[in-house]
Each structure stands twice: as C-alpha cells, then as structure tokens.
Symmetry: C2
Subunit: 377 residues, 2 copies
C-alpha cells in the first residue's frame, strides 16, 4: 500500500482528470469532432509556448520532435553549433551527424550551460546556419539563458533550435519574444501526460529555411504537419487518447495561467535547494534549472539511496548519468506536483538517508522547504 | 490544479487500484463468479475484524449496519445501556428509542469515553440485556477502551454492540478475543472505499439473542444476511461495484497485515498530535482516538480556517460539531493516507493559520511530525 509518487524528470504523474479523459471510448480522428478538439489543443499549445505560430503535434517522443527540427531546418551549406553539456546535448550532436550536418560541438563541463557570449563569438564568423541548445538539460539539472541566446541569434541569419522538453511549461519561455525559432517539447513532462506526443513550434524565419531544404524523411517532415494543422488536422494517424488528455491538461494549466505555473515551479525548486542545504547536501549544477534539481549524495551513499526511497517511501527520483552515475539523484518539479508533495518528498529523502546511516538532522529539510513555500498560491 | 486531498474522517481517499476495479463492466450478481468473490471478501473481512464469525455485508451505510444490530439483537425485556459521548452515541440512543427499547443513556462529557467501571457497575444490577458503545467517536475524536469493556460484558448475559465505524481497520480491534458481540462498520473509512456498504459481525452469543427476538424489519434483518452469507451470497441485490472494490482494498490491507496497519495509523496520529503541540495548538480529547485527531483552533480563528485549507491548499478536514462547532477541526488518519500525506497536511495547516494572521513558527510542526514518523515502515 505504498503510494507511488513520481518525482522523476519525466515521466511525471498524470492528474486523475486526464487519466479519466483518456479512458473514454475511442472515436474516429477523421471527423469534425476531432478537428474541433485539435484546433483547441493547438490554441492551448500556442498559449503555453507564448507563440503566435501553430504548434505541430507529432505522435512520437520529444526526440522525434527534435529530430524533425534538426533534419528539416538546418541548412546543409553552413555549420551548425550544437551545445553539449549533458546526455541530451550529446544526443542532438548524434542526430545532426546522422543527417550529415557540419557540426561544431561546444563541449561544456557538466553542470554549466552554453553562454550567450560563446554564441555571439561563433556566429560573428558568419559560418553558422543554426544553433542547437538544450534549454533545461535534464541530465545535469542545468538551464541556459535562452532569452539571452535568442537575442544573439535573432540578429543573424542563423536560426535557434531549442530543446525545451523539460522547460516548456516549467521555466519561463517566451518563444516569439525571445527569438526562439524552433521549440521542441514532449508530452511526459510539464504537460502532465503520458509519453507519446512531441511538439514543434516553428517561426517564419525557420519556415523559410525549411522550405529551402529537400525534406530528408517522410514521417518527420515538418511541412506535412504544417499543411495539416492549418485545417486542424494531422498528416498521419494522431495519438487520439493522448491528444484528448492534452486538451484537459492544457485547460488545467491555462486555468491557473502559465506565468503562475512558472512561478510555482520556481518555488518548488528553490524550496528543494533550501532543504538540501539545510541537511548538508550539495546541489550539483552551477546554473541550476528550476524544472529539475540535481543533488549530490553525501559521503558513503550511492544509488542504494534511490532503492530505499522508492522501496520504503514510494518516491521515485532519477539517478545520475555518466560522470554523475551513483553520485547524485535528480528531483523533478514539473507538472502535477505541488508544495505538499515536495515537502513530503523531502521528508522521505531525510528518512532514506537516515536509514542508510547518514547523520541527518531529521525535520530540518522539511522545515526549510516549508518556510520557502509559505507564499504558495 | 489544486490537488484534492481528503483528510476528513470519512469519506477517505480511495486508491486508484480500487477506483479502477470499480470502473470495470458490471456482471450479474446471481452467479458463481459473484459468489466466489463474495466468499473471498467475507474471509478478508473476518481477518480484518479478527473474528471467526461470518461478516454480514449490507448495501447501506454504517448507520444501516448499526440499526440492524440494535433492532435485531437488543432484548426487549431488559434495559440497554447506551454511551453518548458525541454525535454518534447520540444517534444510537435515537435508534434504540425508535425500536421502543428501555434505554439507559450514559451522557458523557465530550472528549471523554465510556469507562469499563461504569459498565461493570451498571451490569452488576442484572437489568441490562445489551451495551452499546462507540469505539472511536468521530465527532469528538475520542476512543474508549473497548477491550476492557468487552471483558466486563463477557462475564454477563448481556451483549456488547460496538460502533466500530471509524475504528475497524484503524485501531487495534480483536472482535472475538475482546468479547465484542456485534461490530458495526462502514466502507468509507479504513476500508478505502466510497460510502455504500455496512458490515456487521455477530458472535454466537448474540445470534442466540437475535434468534429469540421477532425481527422488527425486513431489509435490516440480520438473519436473512446470515442465511445468505453461508452460501457466499446476499439476501437482496448487493452493491456489486463496491464489493468488487472491497476485494481489492482488502487484498491491499492484508498484504501489509492488519497489525501493521494499526501501528501505522497510530504513528500518524502521534505525529499529528506532536505537530499540533509544536505549533502551540491543543488536542481536544482527553482520550484521543488514533483514527482521527481533533484540534482546537487558536484564539481568533474560526471555521474560515477550513475554507482556507481547502481553497488554497486543497486539503479537506472536518469541522467541529455541536459544542465544538467553529472551535475545532478534525483530521483523519484512516485508510489511504501515509506519512508523507500527513506531513504535507501539517505544512498546509501551518500555512492556513499563518494566512489567517496567526503567528505560526513555520516549519516547526512539520519538523516535529517528521521526527515522530522516522521509523515508518
């Protein structure tokens, strides 16, 4: 009777309202009923990403969304700058290379993010057609200053492609105002849905590039999605139940207001960092993301911690990857998680550490988090 | 997107496993499939109530269960002792009077419970046929010593009828060993179900009495349920989905073990009392129940507190009744509530008080509760 609680940075818990919606009988997608719903979903996605452009919905993961962006929009006659500060930056380097792009990989120390100055220097050469960066790098729990990078790229002919998979709906993100030409996102994060949908928002500047490139594939051809979405439709069979759930989830988000959701997420992250400090734990990142917090294990603790946390207290968190493997855990603040959940998780973290023999001042972490979250609304 | 969290002493939250089971298609109840399931449910109920006797399941509320017991089992030629220490004791006095019983009402100060000595003195007169007491009086969050009362009654010809609606599955309760002749219970408390089922366990001693009394009704005639349950069946149409959910809930409870469930509930209550004390609040009861804690509002606070707690933090608790109206709130520890929920609730209580202008030492309550719950398993 252990209550399962997901604090993994994707998948995240899905609200019962959404689960119930998705349990309703299937209806056919080539109908006016579907198109009406899909049109509303498109509006909700635009509002969430703060963009006037249509948002393309792909039946696929966030990786599918990012691959579609990279494959369709990166000019072949220029270099592409790819920031690699973790597992996801690494993945986009691989994808870009699969398509034969001339990749300039900016290898970043884990826990640091691409700096706008680096982008400015590189782009000043005039050799680059696109910049690819991860807004919130899940593997290192680190966020870059996407607004500043966007402003740099906007002054050039290059486009900015941002992996916003764990930032859309969690970190402040103003797609159009910041000059982010392509945003890639996925359903199983702040959208409060199961995995299975990828989202792509494309600027006019990026569409011009896309239209100048021969599409290298079929399913991930953004032009097909653009054509369909204009009629509130999809080019290939849509993941109906997920889109149905998305409608409900978007309604829930917009009932609060996206700016308030951002502020709430930031409070959860701040409280988690304060709790970690209060019990003597260190936050890994030098530029922490507010969607996920990476915390280093204290001396003598390893991934047994996560097993204890899940096995005894029902709370799932993510472990470290690569150089952080067995050395850190990562806690999500995205989606259907509120302050009371977060305070409960911190109690469980204290218990799990204590049960592994760490001398934890029980209650200090929860008290610190409670104090930070006092102005929650 | 406020997460709704029920801390009311019934109804309590229902686990998703149970909700999903109840959402499955209806099947007919006059079938071998139903009888097999109902037999397993009876076994699970017997284990939960620690009795060798069949447990009768009525489609009705806990009040239906208690009325069936009172109407069918109280001898008409003797007095019935009814303890009245709150809203539910008061109700059983009313029910006994409806059936023309010679009621001796023991009026107890709210927050106190029927004492075994009182029962011994009364029963020594030989004038009593039955004793009716509430094990855990929800309205005052007060528990009596049912074991001690059972031992007193067992030495006499009288039977003991206990309202265990908020104690079955939460407080230690050994029906047979304690000599509790009739236990009445209801589904929407520790059984982790929606309202709609009442349970009655009857001893051989009580059956002898019941068989000597002309049944005063039809639907609430325990003999009909006894006859049917022997064939794993019900006399009238059973509440199929609730019984189906009950099977799953009982499996969850027995996977943990009922004694461990009792211990867990006691820890939640202890932590809540410690938290209240840490932030300067007073527990109302002189003999607190571990299934529900009644806490007095501090100076200047009234039932606005509950509105704030629910409206801003999503947590539902019960208010006070009668003399406690507007003066106290009541927090449940029954059923599908774990330590992390309880710690979260205490944070919400701190926030709600602070937002009403009370000078709360933020974090002190949660820290106290966290310390108490450290050995949770």
């Amino acid at each position: 009777m252990l209550k399962p609680r997901l604090f993994t940075p994707g998948p995240t818990d899905v609200p019962p309202e959404v689960l119930n919606e998705m349990a309703k009988p299937i209806f056919h997608h080539r109908t006016e009923r579907f198109r009406e719903m899909f049109g509303q979903v498109n509006d909700g996605l635009k509002k969430l990403l703060v963009t006037d452009n249509d948002v393309l919905t792909i039946a696929g993961s966030g990786t599918a969304a990012m691959e579609a962006a990279i494959a369709c929009a990166c000019p072949r006659n220029k270099k592409v700058l790819v920031a690699n500060g973790g597992k996801f930056g690494e993945r986009w380097v691989k994808v870009a290379k699969v398509y034969g792009l001339d990749v300039d990989e900016v290898a970043l120390e884990w826990g640091t993010a691409l700096q706008p100055e680096t982008v400015a220097q590189k782009l000043a050469t005039g050799q680059y057609g696109a910049v690819i960066t991860v807004h919130s790098e899940t593997s290192t729990a680190t966020a870059c200053d996407l607004e500043a990078i966007g402003k740099v790229v906007a002054k050039t002919d290059a486009i900015l492609i941002a992996d916003c998979i764990t930032s859309a709906g969690t970190l402040p993100l103003k797609t159009d105002a910041w000059g982010v030409d392509i945003v890639g996102a996925g359903s199983q994060k702040a959208f409060m849905l199961p995995p299975g949908l990828g989202f792509v928002a494309v600027s006019d500047k990026a569409w011009k590039l896309i239209d100048s490139i021969t599409p290298p594939g079929f399913y991930l051809n953004l032009q097909a999605y653009r054509k369909s979405v204009a009629g509130n439709d999809t080019p290939y069979t849509p993941a109906l139940t997920l889109i149905r759930g998305l409608k409900v989830a978007l309604d829930m988000i917009h009932e609060i207001g996206i700016e308030k959701v951002w502020a709430r997420t930031a409070m959860l992250a701040k409280a988690t960092r304060a709790a970690a400090e209060a019990i003597g734990l260190k936050v890994f990142s030098q530029q922490p993301s507010d969607s996920v917090t990476g915390i280093l294990y204290p001396e003598g603790v390893d991934d047994k911690f996560r097993k204890t946390l899940q096995g005894k207290y029902g709370c799932s968190v993510a472990g470290g990857q690569n150089e952080l493997k067995g050395k850190a855990f990562r806690v999500s603040h995205m989606g259907y998680i509120d302050p009371l959940d977060t305070i409960g998780l911190i109690a469980a973290v204290e218990y799990a550490l204590a049960s592994l023999g760490v001398d934890v001042p029980l209650g200090k972490g929860v008290a610190a988090a409670t104090a930070v979250l006092k102005d929650w609304e």
